[in-house]
Subunit: 158 residues, 2 copies
DNA sequence: TTTATTCTTGACTGTTTTACTTGGTTATTG
DNA sequence: CAATAACCAAGTAAAACAGTCAAGAATAAA
């Protein structure tokens, strides 16, 4: 288990996806703009999220990404482990490297801590955030802001 | 909040300290040997732990480190934040940089997640691990192993 | 069918963090 | 004084992070 800004990016992006889930696919370009994350970096993250079966890509105009499951079936733990991808099994991968049998002690100690942490994050689903009224409120403001920006700068000149 | 191997090192070392708390100060050399962590790296970690008032250093022969408080008064959260030291307040440090007022949404979202995680780790104290019989058992084996190693290689030749 | 849109993939780059090293200096005990 | 062990400072190789760039492949709309 590992927590970093990378995981936060992923969770933020997935949250954005969950909020606009009913309006069809969301483009990475949109997420990039509203959440302030580099587009190409998002691409990397979503490639991993897709491989883990958390999102589905829809190609072509009007395409984008959508959640592969219902928001209440996607946990924060899944998102984080999807992008961090090293479960960080410590030095001995369950069996191997602990020469003395001594180190395995502290490893299992940490493993339990890690487990409890995982279970905790595994108990938090996307919808728990999305359904909340104050979130819905800000999401609406976010959309209006996006619309306004689109009006002022409709399209880049050809 | 951040979780990495660095924090795990610190927690492991503090666990070792807690286990041998009653036998006087523990040297970093001992921890380095039994836990397989570089001595100088431990020095860096313990410098931070000391500044946060989690451990006390005892200089000179027979010296080492000891816990600054009772094991039940030291939480895992404290240890991790002590060595990681950047609470990672995201881009807007509570006020500043969020230009739109939009991004602050996801920030506060994550902040709450981070808070809940912190509270969770803050509820786990050192003694919760140390007092357990299976840990005590392995700790004793660890000590015997250390004694045996000392007997076979009593001292490096001058 | 062309074309624009969007996902998809891969390689590449600069910065930061890790984990570790080297080489000291104090303070304490015997 | 000599050994011990905490302290301190600086540097370093490798990895992870965050982001860029470029090219391709699928598909909806024109």
């Amino acid at each position: 288990m590992k927590l970093s800004t990378k995981g936060r990016y992923a969770v933020t992006a997935m949250m954005d996806l969950a909020i606009h889930d009913r309006e069809g696919p969301v483009t990475l370009a949109d997420i990039s703009q509203t959440q302030g994350i580099s587009l190409s970096y998002l691409e990397q993250l979503f490639a991993k999220l897709r491989k883990r079966g958390l999102v589905e890509g829809v190609r072509g105009p009007g395409g984008g990404y959508r959640l592969a499951r219902m928001p209440h079936q996607i946990t924060v733990a899944e998102i984080i482990t999807a992008v961090d991808e090293n479960v960080d099994v410590m030095r001995c991968h369950g069996d191997g490297n602990c020469q003395d049998g001594v180190r395995c002690l502290t490893h299992e100690l940490w493993a339990e801590l890690s487990n409890r942490l995982y279970e905790f994050l595994d108990g938090i689903t996307l919808d728990q955030f999305v359904e909340r009224p104050e979130i819905r409120e800000i999401a609406r403001r976010q959309d209006e802001e996006a619309k306004r920006m689109n009006f002022v700068f409709p399209r880049p000149a050809a």
